[in-house]
C-alpha cells in the first residue's frame, strides 16, 4: 500500500488554502471590528448548506453556490454587525457569549431543517493523478478561487479603498476625526468577513460531509491562523492556513476527524497560554 502522505499533503494543501479565505475574514473582524467572532464557523456552515441546497436542486457547482452564499452571509453579517456587534462592542460579556449564541442558533436551525446526519454533494469524478493520487476537481477550484480572492483582498487593503480599514485597525479615534463613518465601516467589514467564511464553506462543501456542527473546527483553525500569522499579512495567513490544512488532513487520515478537532483545540490553548504578542496587542487595545 503506497504511503498516504502525498494524498494527505495534497488534500490538506487544497482545503487549507480554501480555509485561508475564512481565516482572512477572521483577521478582518479581529483587526477592524476588534471582536472575536465565535459565529464565524456557523457562517462557513451556512455556505456549505447553501451549496448543498443548490446541489439538491441540480446545481452542483460551488462556483455558483459561493457567490450566493456570500450574498446571504453578507446580509446576515451586516444585520448582526449593525444590530448586535456594534452596540455590544464595549461589553466584555456580550460579545463572546452573544456570537456563540448566534452560532448555536444556526447549528440548531440547520439541524432542524436538514437533520443532524452528514450530507454530501456529488461533485463529479475526481482526476486520478500519478501514483494513484486522487485530485478532486472542486478542491483545485476552491483553492484557486480562494487564492484569487485573497490576492484581490491584498490589493484592496494596500491601496486607497483599503485605507479606512487599516486606519480603523490602527487608531479608531483618528479615523473618526477624519470624518470616516467608523460604525458603518465596522458592520460592513463584519458582513464582508462573514461572506468570506460562507464562500469558503460553499467551496469546501463538495470535499467533505456537511453537518450542522462542521464549522466548529474551522472556527478554531481560523483563530489559530490569525494568532500565529497576525492580522497584517494576507500572505502569511494563506501560508499558515495551508500548513494547518495539511496538519488537519494528517490528523484526520492517520487518526480520526475528531482528533483534528482536538488538535485545533489544543493549539488554541497552547497559543493562548504562551501569549504571543498578537494577543497581548489586541487585549491591550481594548483597555
Amino acid at each position: 500500500m503506497a504511503s498516504p502522505l502525498p494524498q494527505i499533503l495534497l488534500d490538506g494543501f487544497f482545503t487549507g488554502g480554501t480555509y485561508a479565505l475564512m481565516a482572512a475574514g477572521m483577521a478582518l473582524i479581529l483587526g477592524v471590528v476588534k471582536v472575536i467572532n465565535l459565529s464565524h464557523g456557523a457562517f462557513l456552515t451556512l455556505g456549505a448548506y447553501v451549496a448543498y441546497a443548490l446541489a439538491d436542486r441540480g446545481i452542483a457547482t460551488p462556483l455558483a453556490a459561493a457567490p450566493l452564499a456570500a450574498v446571504i452571509a453578507f446580509a446576515f453579517g451586516v444585520f448582526l454587525g449593525k444590530s448586535f456587534v456594534n452596540p455590544a462592542r464595549s461589553h466584555p460579556f456580550a460579545l463572546p457569549v452573544g456570537t456563540l449564541a448566534c452560532a448555536l442558533l444556526f447549528e440548531q436551525a440547520a439541524q432542524m431543517v436538514w437533520g443532524p446526519h452528514p450530507l454530501s454533494i456529488d461533485a463529479g469524478d475526481p482526476w486520478i493523478g500519478p501514483g494513484g493520487l486522487v485530485v478532486r476537481r472542486w478542491g483545485v477550484v476552491a483553492f484557486l478561487s480562494s487564492a484569487v480572492l485573497l490576492w484581490g483582498l491584498k490589493r484592496v487593503l494596500s491601496s486607497r479603498p483599503g485605507l479606512p480599514l487599516r486606519l480603523i485597525a490602527e487608531d479608531e479615534e483618528i479615523a473618526g476625526s477624519l470624518g470616516m463613518d467608523v460604525e458603518a465601516i465596522r458592520y460592513l467589514t463584519f458582513g464582508g468577513a462573514c461572506a468570506m467564511a460562507a464562500a469558503a464553506g460553499a467551496l469546501l462543501a463538495p470535499s467533505g460531509a456537511v453537518t450542522p456542527t462542521m464549522g466548529r473546527a474551522p472556527l478554531l483553525l481560523s483563530l489559530v491562523v490569525v494568532i500565529v500569522a497576525g492580522m497584517d499579512s494576507v500572505g502569511a495567513i494563506f501560508l499558515i492556513s495551508i500548513g494547518l490544512g495539511i496538519f488537519g488532513s494528517a490528523c484526520a487520515w492517520l487518526l480520526s476527524p475528531q482528533w483534528s478537532y482536538v488538535a485545533m483545540l489544543a493549539a488554541v490553548c497552547l497559543l493562548l497560554s504562551a501569549r504571543p504578542a498578537g494577543i497581548v496587542a489586541l487585549a491591550g487595545r481594548r483597555d
Binding site: 471582536v35 472575536i36 465565535l38 444590530s83 448586535f84 452596540p87 455590544a88 464595549s90 461589553h91 466584555p92 460579556f93 456580550a94 460579545l95 463572546p96 457569549v97 452573544g98 456563540l100 449564541a101 448566534c102 448555536l104 442558533l105 440548531q108 436551525a109 439541524q111 432542524m112 466548529r216 478554531l220 483563530l223 480520526s256 475528531q258 478537532y261 482536538v262 483545540l265 489544543a266 488554541v268 490553548c269 493562548l272 497560554s273 501569549r275 494577543i279 487585549a283 481594548r286 483597555d287
Partner: protein
C-alpha cells in the same frame, strides 16, 4: 451599594415555600423530575455566576468541572468500587482542582480570550469523553462515548419525592454558600478585580491569585451540582461536558442578572422548567436559549435584575441620575472609565 434591592427577604422565602409544597399537590412524576433537574441546573448557574458574574471571568467551559465531577462519580463508584459519599467528595475536590487549573491558565488573559480558552478546554474534555470507550463494564457493554458511564448507586430506584427535596435542599445550601462567599471580603475583592483590574492591582491585590480563587470556588460548586446530577440521572454522559451546557449556564446568569447569585438561580428554574416542561426537543430548547440570550443582551443588558433596578430608580423619580448598570454606565450610556 449592595446587591440587595429586588430580593428583599420576602421573595426567596415565598419562592422556597412554594417549591416545598409543590410535590404535595401530587403532580406527575415527569414534572417532579423536571424540577429536580432544574434545581441542579440552577445551582450550576449560580456557580457560573461566581466566576462570570461576581468575578467577571467569562467562562464558556463551565461544563468542564460539572461533567468532570459527574464522570468522577461514575468511574469511582462503578469501576473502583468506592462508596458513594467518598466518590462524591472526591469528585468535588477534582472539580475544584480543575477549576484551579483553568484559573491558572486564564489568569494572564483578558476578557474574550478567557472565553475562548475556557471554551477550548471544555470542548477538549467533551471530545475526550465522546471519543473514549473506556472499558467494558460487567455485562460486556462498552462504557464511554455519548452514552457515558453509569454510576453504581446504593439504591435501586430513588423516589421522585426524595430526589426533589434532596435537590431543593442542595440548591438552597449551595446558593446560601455562594451568596455568603460573594458578600465576603474575598467576594468584594473579586468584584473589584472584575470592575477594574488595574485599580485593584494598584491596591495591592494579586490579580492572578484571586482569579484562580474565583474559578476554584465556582468550579467546586459546579462539581457539586454535577455530582448531584449524575446521582439523579444515574449516569455521567457526554452532554455533561458539552458546550451547549456551558452556554446554558451563561444564559441563565445573563437573563437573571450577573453578579447576584440569586437571579441566575431563578432564571434557570423558570427557563428550564418552562422549556423542559413543554417537552420541547433538545434542538428547539437550545435554539430558544440562544434566542433568549440574544434578546436579553440586546434589550435588557442587565438581565431581569438590572432592568428592574433601572425601572425602580426611574419610578423613584431620580431621572437625572441613573445608577450604574452592570458596566457602570453613566447617564449617556458610556462606560465609566
Amino acid at each position: 451599594m449592595r446587591n440587595a434591592a429586588p430580593f428583599r427577604g420576602g421573595w426567596p422565602a415565598a419562592g422556597i415555600g412554594l417549591l416545598l409544597f409543590f410535590p404535595l399537590s401530587s403532580p406527575d412524576a415527569f414534572f417532579l423530575d423536571v424540577f429536580t433537574t432544574g434545581f441542579l441546573l440552577a445551582a450550576f448557574a449560580a456557580s457560573w455566576d461566581v466566576v462570570g458574574g461576581v468575578s467577571g471571568q467569562i467562562t464558556l467551559g463551565h461544563a468542564l468541572p460539572f461533567g468532570a465531577a459527574a464522570y468522577a462519580c461514575a468511574l469511582l463508584t462503578s469501576l473502583a468500587g468506592w462508596p458513594l459519599p467518598l466518590a462524591v467528595a472526591a469528585a468535588i475536590v477534582l472539580a475544584a482542582a480543575v477549576g484551579a487549573g483553568i484559573g491558572t491558565l486564564s489568569a494572564p488573559l483578558a476578557g474574550p480570550f478567557v472565553a475562548l480558552l475556557t471554551l477550548a478546554l471544555g470542548e477538549i474534555a467533551h471530545e475526550a469523553a465522546v471519543g473514549n470507550t473506556f472499558f467494558s463494564g460487567p455485562g460486556g457493554y462498552a462504557w464511554g462515548g455519548e452514552g457515558g458511564i453509569p454510576l453504581t448507586l446504593p439504591w435501586r430506584d430513588a423516589s421522585p419525592f426524595l430526589s426533589y427535596y434532596a435537590a431543593l435542599a442542595f440548591l438552597c445550601l449551595a446558593s446560601f454558600g455562594m451568596l455568603r462567599f460573594s458578600r465576603s471580603g474575598a467576594g468584594l475583592i473579586l468584584r473589584a478585580v472584575a470592575g477594574s483590574p488595574i485599580t485593584a492591582q494598584a491596591s495591592g491585590i494579586p490579580i492572578a491569585r484571586f482569579k484562580r480563587l474565583a474559578f476554584t470556588v465556582g468550579s467546586a460548586f459546579a462539581g457539586a451540582a454535577g455530582a448531584g446530577f449524575a446521582l439523579h440521572v444515574g449516569r455521567a454522559t457526554a452532554t455533561d461536558l458539552s458546550l451547549e451546557l456551558s452556554f446554558q449556564a451563561a444564559t441563565f446568569a445573563a437573563v437573571g442578572g450577573r453578579g447576584t447569585i440569586v437571579a441566575p438561580v431563578v432564571a434557570a428554574l423558570v427557563l428550564h422548567v418552562l422549556f423542559q416542561g413543554l417537552s420541547l426537543p433538545p434542538s428547539a430548547r437550545i435554539l430558544l436559549y440562544a434566542l433568549t440570550l440574544l434578546v436579553t443582551l440586546r434589550f435588557f443588558p442587565g438581565g431581569v435584575v438590572g432592568t428592574a433596578r433601572d425601572l425602580a430608580s426611574r419610578i423613584a423619580g431620580r431621572e437625572g441620575a441613573r445608577p450604574p448598570g452592570r458596566h457602570g454606565r453613566n447617564r449617556n450610556g458610556e462606560v465609566a472609565r
